[in-house]
């Protein structure tokens, strides 16, 4: 009689043991499978969260290198002029060709008076202070104020690379001046060194910004007065031949987890690093990823715990049962069946049950995994602080028109509250491969009493 047949007959005829073992194996594989699918689901949602919050690398003119800057006496005071290598479109193309860089946004800088409309007035230092600074952008969707959710586009569309004299205005300015999409506004550069023309801009979108709680605002620091325009408009306003990325260029990456690798590759490019500097901004991802990361490590521990506990239970039950089978083992040994074949029979018995139990766990785990995931998520969410991003305390956030120091508006950020869990056949495969390994391990460990059994004791012990 073959070992397989003996194992099969044992499983069929010892029904109580079979059912018990089946339940243990089913519970074990259900928990592990559930753990795996929740892990996979959080992994997927972590990736899409990473993609949605993004991460950026800013290439800008190096302000710390004095050799690049020239100071001149001008009418209103000292003028600072950049005399180093400018950032060109060629540099941008080099960086864009790096794997994992998905978009860029170059930022220009200017200051204008409102000619045929009014800004929201702030604290005035005197005549002529009713101007506002305005950024020009390649793609406003990737402009820091928007990516950090400080600005929300509520009407119209974003500014694109090929826009010509388009502008985004705040809902506050729109309301004050009764402006709608498609209306035009006129601005003029407020610098006093030279002649600047009136420039007409078409409103293509309206953004909303929650008023700063800080009461001390001048017109130009009030973020509701930001006019976000395209580079062509900026060229005309400032009377320049070339697009100037005065405030640097933000490069956006697909997956913030890759950001260090990408920054390194940019560093290795043949650019004039005497004049440029590189800053990595991954803070948003790090802030939001916390809940997912802790969820994932919790799940890893749960899976490890499940495996350890179930292997222990399995070894305990099996060694108890195998001990009870000394008599049978003695008989088999006395008719010349080797120990290894006897242990192999025990393994086959458990595997026969396991194959069915593992298969069924696909369905049981599909039933419970979503519920378990929500439960764990609630636990994690309760113990998680609301993500906060630290601001530099040098006050630069009031001045910066690029949005570099804009705090991430966490109330507008999509927090991960639950993930959609689905058990996939691939995981079942893991369960089979890994489960078979665990079963073999457990049975072998439980069979120590058989392996240690000495044939000479068979006769005396059995009678």
């Amino acid at each position: 009689m073959s070992t397989w047949k003996r194992a099969f007959l044992y499983v069929i005829r010892k029904k109580v043991k079979t059912v018990l073992l089946f339940c243990v194996l089913l519970a074990m594989s259900t928990f592990i499978l559930t753990g795996l699918s929740i892990y996979k689901a959080t992994d997927d949602s972590a990736l899409s969260l990473r993609r949605s919050v993004g991460g950026s690398i800013r290439l800008e003119l190096d302000e710390s290198n004095g050799a690049n800057w020239q100071y001149q006496q001008a009418a209103g005071g000292m003028m600072v002029e950049y005399v180093g290598t400018p950032i060109t479109d060629k540099d941008i193309q080099k960086i864009m060709s790096i794997d994992g860089v998905k978009a860029y946004n170059g930022i220009g800088d200017g200051s204008v008076y409102a000619k045929d409309f009014d800004f929201i007035s702030g604290f005035s230092f005197g005549e002529g202070s009713d101007y506002s600074r305005l950024p020009s952008v390649t793609n406003s969707e990737y402009f820091n104020f928007f990516t950090r959710k400080a600005f929300q586009l509520i009407e119209g569309r974003h500014i694109k690379e090929d826009d010509d004299h388009a502008v985004l205005i705040s809902s506050a300015v729109a309301e004050k001046n009764n402006l709608k999409l498609g209306d035009t506004i006129t601005v003029q550069c407020c610098y006093d060194s030279g002649d600047y023309p009136d420039v007409k801009l078409t409103v293509v979108g309206i953004y909303e910004y929650k008023e700063d709680t800080d009461s001390f605002q001048t017109t130009s620091t009030d973020k509701r007065n930001r006019l976000i325009i395209d580079h062509k408009a900026m060229q005309e306003i400032m009377q320049r031949d070339e697009i100037q990325y005065d405030n640097g260029i933000d490069f956006y990456v697909d997956d913030p987890r890759e950001i260090d690798r990408i920054a390194k590759e940019i560093k290795n490019l043949d650019l004039d690093w005497n004049c440029f500097s590189l800053t990595v901004d991954n803070s948003a991802y790090e802030a939001v990823a916390a809940s997912l990361t802790s969820m994932q490590s919790l799940i890893v521990w749960l899976i490890v715990g499940c495996i350890v506990v179930s292997v222990c239970i399995l070894i305990l039950i099996l060694s108890m049962w195998i001990k009870q089978r000394r008599y049978e083992t003695g008989i088999l040994l006395s008719i010349g069946i080797t120990k290894s074949k006897i242990v192999f029979q025990y393994i086959v018995e458990v595997l026969l049950i396991a194959v069915v139990a593992f298969g069924l766990s696909y369905f049981t785990s599909s039933l419970i995994s979503q519920g378990v995931s929500d439960l764990i998520f609630n636990q994690v969410a309760e113990s998680q602080p609301i993500p906060e991003i630290e601001l530099p305390d040098d006050g630069s956030e009031y001045l910066d028109i690029t949005g570099q120091y804009i705090p991430y508006d966490t109330s507008n950020m999509e927090m991960v509250e639950s993930v959609e869990v689905k058990v996939i056949p691939n995981h079942l495969l893991y369960i089979y491969v890994f489960g078979v390994f665990l079963v073999v391990l457990s049975v072998s460990a439980a069979s120590i009493t058989v392996i240690q059994m000495k044939p000479k004791k068979i006769l005396s012990q059995m009678d």
Binding site: I335, G336, K454
Partner: protein, 209 residues
């Protein structure tokens, strides 16, 4: 030539007192041997050495002229000898037929019928058979293995007198008709008389009566 030979075999569990103290004898096919002796005199020990469950400290045991250590003890157990125990030693989740098939070199059913089990009985749960019937199954299993030597340790110890007589006569048949070498350990002088040769084990020595 004798199928099995015991040459100057010494055995001790504790290396102080010899259970077997230089035993020599030869066993032939077609014969039934009985071993008598007081409890604890070493009968089971001798049988387990013959069956390759353990090795003697001194001396050797030959099967077909070859040292069983050379044949390999597990191999010897599997091919050359079959055990029959006092407690029948059947596997409880197998039917009589399947128990016999464990060692199957021969088809189980005719052998079971030969030792007196009906077809219905040979498909029952072994635990639902009487002691005598269970011992018949054990004998059938020994026969099915096609081993030439059958070692029976008190095969009738748990049976009433009539059944014991039947079992002994079946074993005798095995020896005389099927040309097996049957060795029976027993406490009963009556049953021992059925054997062709009777030994008595005393103080570690074997005496032929």
């Amino acid at each position: 030539m004798s199928i099995m030979e015991i040459q100057k075999v010494r055995y001790s569990y504790d290396n102080k007192r010899n259970v077997l103290n230089g035993i020599s004898t030869a066993l032939d096919e077609g014969k039934m041997y009985a071993i008598l002796g007081q409890s604890g005199c070493g009968k089971t020990t001798l049988l387990s050495l013959l069956g390759g469950l353990d090795s003697p400290l001194d001396g050797q045991i030959l099967y077909d002229g070859q040292d069983i250590e050379k044949i390999g003890l597990a191999n010897h157990r599997k091919k050359n000898v079959a055990f029959i125990f006092q407690s029948y030693n059947l596997i409880d989740y197998l039917t009589p037929k399947e128990n016999v098939a464990l060692t199957a070199k021969l088809s189980p059913q005719p052998i079971l019928e030969r030792v007196g089990l009906t077809e219905e009985e040979s498909k029952r749960n072994v635990l639902k058979l009487s002691g005598g019937q269970q011992q018949r199954v054990a004998i059938a299993r020994a026969l099915a293995s096609d081993a030439k030597v059958i070692l029976a340790d008190e095969p009738t110890g748990n049976l009433d007198e009539d059944t014991a007589t039947e079992i002994i006569s079946i074993l005798k048949e095995c020896a005389h008709q099927m040309k097996k070498c049957v060795v029976i350990v027993t406490h009963s002088n009556e049953l021992a008389k059925q054997a062709d040769t009777v030994f008595c084990l005393k103080k570690g020595r074997l005496q032929q009566l």
